[in-house]
Amino acid sequence: MLPDPDDIAAAGAPEPIALYLHWPFCLAKCPYCDFNSHVRERIPAGRFVAALRRELRHEAARIGRRPLASIFFGGGTPSLMPPEGVAALIADARGLFEPRPDLEITLEANPTSVETGRLRAFREAGVNRVSMGIQSLDDDALRRLGREHSAADAVRALEQARAIFPRLSFDLIYARPGQTLAGWRAELDRALALAADHLSLYQLTVEPGTRFEAEHRAGRLLLPPDELGAALYTETAAVAARHGLEAYEVSNYARPGAESRHNLAYWRYGDYAGIGPGAHGRLSLADADGIRRLFATRRHRAPEPWAERVERDGTGLRSQERLDAPDPAREMLLMGLRLREGIDSRRFRARTGTALLDAVDPAMLEACLEEGYLRWQPRSGASAGGGLVGGGPALGRNDWHDHCLAATDEGRLRLDALLPVLVR
């Protein structure tokens, strides 16, 4: 059998790097948030910028000079970072890797006045995309969500950001207690009128260890019933589509071409380096035998101990685990089926070492195709003529190779139930 050209390409050309930098501090902890964020009376900004720069250098040394596709400043609240720190990190990354001409540099920001005042400085530092944590355009809801800004602050911040940055995204949370379908539709319409090219619309989820969880358990936080949750989700996609935004991932909507390239790296199961406290990474690195294998990296979570280790050892790496079958296949399935584009079967095999058809239970695949939860669709760029393949018989061994396996809207709606029965 002839080797697959794509396999050779994947093995030969190094994966581009998506770089994630974690800023672990917030002004206040939101009651729904389970991210690695911490509140300090005085944020030790200088120390943490220095530590991030040092760990980045350390990590880049072992990754090598690979193409750099994206940088993402996440948190916590990275808009609390000193802009000169952001500038230094961007300059470092550009020097350590081979930046692509279209390098995407995103920074998460909150719409409070302290941070919006620095937007121009962030732009000057090299940030070309801002993701605003708006969460709601309703003042009562914002208070309930523990946010420190008002709806008016939010609109003002978005207008400023739009004037400064070429690309703009913001987050909203829906399926909040007491929210109605009509109420959400109106709120979403207002939000979409603010002309962002990208939106993250999250259904409110009660995460373990958050204040909302305690309230939920005590019966003081009543979430909408499943059916309303499903209706809100479907409505969200419909409203977004009317405004020209496509649901390219479970909770992410974009104008064509405006998708978050950094986040796509996660969902397409590409390489990403995670720098900063608690950051995770997936990196293909040469193993002891010289063969490239996939590794999962994780950094110390508590900010100060992480910084101490970086200052001492150059890295706050807590663990590095080699991912062997079936782990990469399972991870790529659980990420890739979140995307509307689905999973490219050639890339799947190159990336995980397992054929897509061998990674799933054939009977359940058949059942999911029949039920309309999954479908085969031609790879983007493959020779046209197939159109969408779904509902009919499964593709033969020779045909699926040119296709992507994708969850339909109905399938994505039930992905957490679908995955355990589908994956082998």
């Binding site: 998506a18 994630y20 999250y202 259904q203 409110l204 989820t205 499943d226 059916e227 949750g229 499903a230 989700y233 479970v250 909770s251 986040n263 790296a265 996660y266 990403y272 995670g274 608690g278 950051a279 995770h280 990474g281 997936r282 999962a296 994780r298 782990d327 399972r330 991870e331 659980l334 990420m335 979140r338 009977a363 359940m364 059942a367 999911c368 039920e371 939860y373 994505r412 709606l413 039930r414 992905l415 957490d416 139930a417 679908l418 995955l419 355990p420 029965v421 994956v423």
Partner: protein
């Protein structure tokens, strides 16, 4: 030492309803005869098994040998035989009664006679017992000795003028009971020189001694070192130890006629010791066995499955250990598609089933699920063969069945007449046939014939709830009758769930099928695909429910930091699927079936 002349031996048992004071009275008698010091007295010496204590019931027969200096100046030996007090053990009760010449009928002076008492007192009368009525709790303000005396005469049909009035709790008039035993009960009869005839009353397993056999000597003498023969099996054993219960085991050289005591003979399991058997001497056997021997036959069966499949071997070992001490329950390995590996177990009745189940969980720390109890049906096939069916899942295709017979019982229910109406309705719903209905004061006694099948299906619970706990109930097996019975299968996505299939009368099939489908609909969580639940007789569907596909189940946020956590969750879910049973496209957690069976229980 046991050369007591027959004239100075009295063998007696105590008949009482639960809580009417049997064990307290026994304790007082032991105390009054000085058999135990105050320090040795734990409450209710006789009930030494934990479960027996908690429920106030006796499973194994036990005896205590008391010596009592009577008012006539003579020293008497009083052998108290404590008998199992429940209908499930009716045969065991009858053998214990056959070992005695008389009974104390203990009745709560405020509550009066209960159904269970009645069944036992009739058995005692059948065994030709002299009955001494004892009115207990006479010190309570609610005591109505005159009314209860009258009730005993009316219902039981024995004179109660000279009933002994006592309070076992305070010790009032215990002397009166002892004197009544000596003066009113007949002494045993027997021939010391005749060939040995000893009644095997009961047996149990002792970790140090092996099987201990409780015996009543009818004729002859039972000596240490003798070679004895079990007349039903012909098995021969050498007697290692002979003794009496004082109440502690006390070895003696021999036991003479009229006496009660124990023997050990290096016997490994109680399955070799049939209750009611006659023990004789191997060298000089008796010409005929004692009358009344019957092998014990299970009447109720159910499947027992470990909730954790890894416990299967432990369950097997535990059942073997229990059977060492209880030959009346049976078990055989069984495989269920829904519940995995387990055992089909046969019991003497529902209480027996419950006791074994409870002991398995308590003494052996096993987490078990029981399938719905089933009675033993007789299948008459078109080829002329008869087959006993004790697992509904094994019922063959209808075309090979000529007819089916089911066991009936005769039930006695006593209830305050306020609740009689609902009891009669309940019995009618359960295909009951009224045999008799009598009133005693404000209490009614209803005698019904009922199919046992209807009784194992939540009858007790319904009886208790419609009478607010005031009804008492007892039954005896009453033969087999042909019936229009059908097997109802429960199907999930067209596949049968063996553990849930059951046999019912055609008239009840639809309602019960509907109720199980409705229960399952509540218990089975929504899944990726819709689930059809059906109840069917053969290929005809009699009830159905549909569980729609779940509407939404997807993590809202999933980025680079979430992958490991999500993958580990996925790994765990895959692992959890080992506890799932696949029905077509859907997988049902075993817990849903377990819950359905529990609700049924």
């Amino acid at each position: 030492m046991t050369d007591t002349p027959l004239s100075r031996i009295r063998n007696f048992s105590i008949i009482a309803h639960i809580d009417h004071g049997k064990s307290t009275l026994a304790d007082r008698l032991i105390q009054a005869c000085g058999a135990l010091s105050e320090r040795e007295m734990t409450n209710q010496v006789l009930d030494n098994m934990e479960i027996e204590r908690e429920r106030g019931i006796t499973i194994k027969a036990q005896t205590v040998r008391l010596t009592y200096p009577a008012k006539d100046g003579q020293l008497y030996v009083l052998n108290l035989m404590d008998t199992p007090g429940h209908v499930d053990f009716a045969y065991e009760v009858s053998r214990s009664l056959a070992a005695c010449e008389g009974s104390l009928l203990v009745v709560d002076a405020s509550q009066g006679v209960e159904a269970q008492t009645l069944a036992n007192v009739y058995q005692a009368l059948d065994a030709n017992h002299e009955i001494v009525p004892v009115l207990n709790k006479i010190d309570l303000p609610a005591a109505e000795p005159e009314r209860v005396r009258q009730q005993i005469e009316d219902v039981v049909g024995i004179p109660a003028d000279d009933a002994v009035e006592i309070s076992a709790k305070t010790g009032l008039n215990i002397e009166g009971v002892l004197e009544a035993l000596v003066t009113r009960l007949p002494p045993p009869v027997g021939e010391a020189d005749a060939p040995l005839k000893a009644l095997l009353v009961d047996s149990w397993y002792d970790a140090y001694l092996g099987v201990v056999i409780l015996v009543r000597i009818k004729d002859g003498r039972l000596r240490k070192g003798a070679k004895v023969r079990m007349m039903s099996t012909g098995a021969v054993h050498t007697v290692e130890q002979v003794g009496t219960f004082a109440p502690a085991m006390r070895p003696v050289d021999d036991l003479g006629p009229g006496e009660m005591g124990y023997i050990t003979a290096a016997i490994k399991t109680v399955a070799d010791c049939n209750v009611g058997d006659t023990i004789t001497e191997d060298r000089r056997p008796a010409g005929s066995a004692l009358a009344g021997f019957k092998p014990s036959i299970p009447v109720v069966w159910c499947g027992l499955f470990p909730i954790d499949a890894d416990d299967f071997e432990k369950l097997r070992e535990s059942l073997a250990k229990l059977r060492l001490n209880d030959a009346s329950f049976h078990y055989e390995a069984e495989t269920s598609a829904a519940l995995g590996f387990g055992f089909r177990c046969g019991f003497l009745g529902l209480l027996h089933l419950e006791i074994i189940q409870e002991r398995l969980s308590r003494e052996f720390d096993l987490n078990l699920i029981a399938t719905a109890p089933s009675v033993v049906y007789r299948l008459f096939k078109t080829n002329g063969e008869m087959e006993e069916l004790h697992n509904p899942a094994d019922m063959p295709d209808g075309s090979v069945i000529a007819k089916i017979e089911e066991p009936w019982i005769k039930a006695t229910i006593m209830v305050p007449d306020d609740y009689l109406g609902s009891i009669l309705t309940l019995c009618a719903e359960r295909r009951g046939q009224q045999v008799d209905l009598t009133y005693v004061g404000n209490r009614a006694m209803a005698v019904y014939r009922l199919p046992l099948n209807e009784v194992v299906f939540d009858f007790y619970d319904r009886l208790k709830s419609v009478s607010r706990g005031y009804a008492s109930f007892d039954y005896a097996m009453d033969g087999y009758e042909e019936s229009d019975l059908v097997r109802i299968s429960i199907l999930v996505n067209q596949e049968p769930v063996d553990a849930l299939s059951f046999v019912a009368h055609r008239s009840a099939a639809e309602a019960r099928g509907r109720s199980i489908c409705a229960k399952l609909k509540e218990l089975i969580p929504r899944q990726l695909f819709k689930i059809a639940i059906q109840a069917a007789i053969g290929s005809r569907v009699i009830a159905r429910e549909t569980i729609g596909a779940l509407s939404k189940d997807v993590t809202a946020k999933c980025y680079g930091g979430d992958i490991s956590r999500k993958r580990k969750l996925l790994d765990k879910q895959k692992e959890g699927k080992k506890r799932m049973r696949q029905f077509g496209k859907v997988e049902i957690p075993q817990t849903a079936f377990l819950a359905a069976l529990k609700m049924d229980g």
